[in-house]
Every structure is written in C-alpha cells, then in structure tokens.
Symmetry: C2
Subunit: 230 residues, 2 copies
DNA sequence: TAGTATACACTTGTATGGAAGTTCAAGCGG
DNA sequence: CCGCTTGAACTTCCATACAAGTGTATACTA
C-alpha cells in the first residue's frame, strides 16, 4: 500500500476529447498539414477522431478565437488563409510583449534560468547542425519560455503564444531549409548575453532584431504561394 | 423595391444564445455583480437565460480561456477570485502593448483619429463632472480603442481587452468614488498631446504613467476585501 | 431559352438524455 | 467515539436528435 502511494498514483490528468481535437487540429493548422482555405466539417472531423460533433464544435470555437479558423454560421468552417497583414500584426504584438519580457529579465534573471537558457541554446545548436527542424522548433519555443519564466512573466507568454502561431504558420513554408536555423541560434545567444549583462537596451535591441529576422526569409512568399494567401 | 433596399434590409446579425450568455456573464463578472468565488452551475444559468445547458457550457469555456472562471471537470465552475498577482500581470501585459501602440501612433496618427480622440476626452470630462461612472468607463475604452485604431493596431487591442478585464474587475471596487475620474482625463489629454507632437518618448511615458495611476487607488484593497481575493 | 421557384443536401446551432467523476453525509462496524 | 463504506446528489463531459439557415441543382413556367 505504502509502496503503491510512493509510486506516483498517476496524477496524470486525462485530456478531454475536446482538448485533444483542438490540440491536434491546431498542430495541423500551424504546420500547414491542414491547408489554409480548406473547409472543415464538424461531422467529418468527428468521424476521424471517433468522437461526437460536440467536442469538435468546441475545438472549432476555440480555434476561431485564436484566429486560426473562421466559423460561418449555417455555412461552414474554413481554415483562415495566410495573410501578410496578420503576420505583421502578430509580429508587432509579439515584439511588444517579448521586448517587455527581456527588459524585465535583465532585472530578475537568476543563475537557474541562465543555465537553462544556455543549455537550450546548446541543444538548439546541435539540432541545427543535425538539420532536425522539429526538435529545433520545440527548443526555440522552450528558450523563449525560459526567458519569460525567468522574468516571472509566464502570463505574458500565453499572449505571445497565440500570436506565435500566425508567425509559425508562415515560417512553416520555408523553415525546411536547414541554412536558416544557424543565425537564429546566434541571435538567441546575443539576447542571453545581454540579459546576463543586465543591459536592457542591448537585450531589447537583440530581441527586436531576432523577431525581425525570423520573417526575413518569408519575404515574397505570398507571390510564390498565392493560393495559400488571401 | 429600390426604396426597401436603400432602407438597410436589417443586416443586423442575430447573436447566438451562447454569445449572449457569454457577453452577459462576462459583464457581470467584470462589474462584480457576480461575485468572485461564486459557484456557477450550467443548469441554473441555463434556466435563468431560458436556454439549454449547451450554450451555457460554451460560454463557460470561453470565460475560462479569458481567465475569468475556473472550470473544474466533474466538480464545478467558480468565478475566479481577485488576485493582486493577476492584476499586476495584466498591467504588465497591457502596458507592453499600449506602449507599443502609442509609439506607433506617433508615426501614423491622422487628423480624423486626432479629432475623434479629442472629442472622446471632452465627453469623458463631462461624464466625470456628472459623476456618471458607466458612461465614463465606456468612453475610457473608446479612447484607448481610438488610439489603437489610429495606430492601425486593432489586432493588438484584442489582446489588450483580455487583460483589461482583470484590471477593470479590481477597479470596480473603488471607481464609484467620483474624485478618481478627473485625473484620468488629464492623463488621457497628456497622451494625446504627446502623440499629436509625434513625441514618442513622451507619449510612452504618459501611457506608462496612466496605466500605473489606474491601479494607484486600489492599493491595499486586498486587505479590505479579503473574501474577494485569493 | 431565360428566369424563377422549389426541393434537397449540406452546414452550424440548440435541446436533451445519459455517462463518468467528485463531494458529502448518513450508516455501519470496530 | 473514530474510521470506513456506500449511496445519493450534485457536477462537467459526451452522444444523439432535431431545429434553422444557406447554397445549389433541378424542374417548371413564360
């Protein structure tokens, strides 16, 4: 009995059907597995996930609030197309938030988060050299999260994450070229260096530069993938 | 026939039951008509609004994503209590966004939005002198929206609005004192003046000051209303 | 043939019943 | 008196049926 208790009586929270559908659909929309402009049907998705329409409907509503799908009453639901405007808006909002985060990080970062961020950069370097985009992207997110957590701004990260989806979706068009990952690692290091020095202005500039460069590679993509843009 | 068409054949979009429940519950939670910590029941709310449980459930989920209620699976749904931490987080996020907005407004504001913002300030002055808190708050929102719209940042305002709810909820404890409205009008004018001059640094300082002062009056309220705070 | 009306096949929105889980209190056994 | 069990009364979550609106294709009319 005592042993059983020590063995972590699964505190694992089981995910609701609605949450699972939302998570998987969201991932598909962001990595463009589900194409922009594609029509989604509650019934069809329900069949595919082996659930009823209700959880699917809740997932649709959640995705609509994130600006990823457009639910048109009595007409249908479509994945919103890519939009340069939306991408620039997302970048603007994200920059405002992450700039504020690194500015605060310059005051409150401690050694624990510094080590963690540094380790994440190293891991990203390896992933970049290995050409592992999936791991690279996950580590990228974790680095930004580490900054927010170290600055005691996790709530702000939630707001960032919603915007990040719109940037990631456009980046998914091009990030399959391995050469684009290297510079991002250098930029992360520059941000962390400035934060460690407590140099707010330099950290802000580094973050701003980083977020600008992310979208450098996607310039002109709307001409190349006209059917995916509105 | 032609006349009928000219007479705006009601383009009035009818609000879904779920949207109506969410809107009314949200308003009640923000103005503290629905008290922090209060338990909400799908059935009870459904009866009160004369709808089924399903739209109510969707409203609950939407409010949960806004951080206004806490849906505990198979246990119940409660209105989240006030929290100094949450309020400071909201202020941090809102400041980051609105500072970026006014900075951009200094570049792109045109006469149309300048006039609109100026008119809103005048109207706010009247409402303040009349002691009309409801009108004052509505005009306050409209002023900030005008800034965002004039800066071409309406998307950013959506993000602000979610955080604003948490600040408004705390402010609702004290904004019934008419003396607190006057200074806010002056602060709005200072922001607009700086924007009109295109002085970004001054505008940023004015906005930052404004958002700090909003919470000045609520210092120590958690000691006075301990049952409403967590 | 052109135009209109209508039926039908979709869609999302709502209502309702039941499944699964949690809480709490009464009742039983020590 | 204390502790465990058990069952009733709640909750949210899911499945299903139906209601209501939209677009389209077809058939009918002039």
């Amino acid at each position: 009995m005592t042993v059983a208790i020590l063995h972590q009586p699964p505190p694992r929270i089981i995910e609701s059907a609605a949450a699972r559908v939302e998570r998987e659909l969201r991932a598909g929309i962001i990595d463009l597995t589900i194409r922009p402009g594609e029509r989604l049907s509650e019934s069809e998705i329900a069949d595919r996930f082996q659930v009823s329409r209700q959880p699917v409907r809740e997932a649709f509503i959640a995705l609509m609030r994130q600006g990823l799908v457009d639910v048109q009453p009595q007409r249908g639901t479509v994945v919103v197309k890519l939009s340069v405007r939306r991408m620039l808006d997302a970048r603007f909002i994200r920059e405002a938030l992450e700039v504020a985060i690194v500015r605060r990080a310059c005051e409150r970062f401690d050694s624990h988060y510094r080590d963690r961020a540094s380790a994440l950069i190293s891991a990203q370097d390896e992933a970049a050299k290995a050409g592992d985009h999936v791991t690279f992207q996950r580590l990228d997110s974790l680095f930004h999260i580490a900054l927010a957590e170290g600055a005691d701004c996790l709530e702000a990260w939630n707001a960032v994450e919603m915007q990040k989806a719109h940037m990631d979706r456009v980046c998914a068009l091009t990030l399959h070229s391995s050469g684009s990952m290297g510079p991002l690692v250098v930029q992360h290091q520059a941000i962390l260096d400035a934060v460690e020095d407590g140099d707010a202005e330099r950290a802000v500039a580094a973050m701003s530069h980083h977020l600008s460069e992310i979208l450098r590679a996607v310039a002109g993509l709307e001409l190349k993938f006209t059917e995916l843009f509105e």
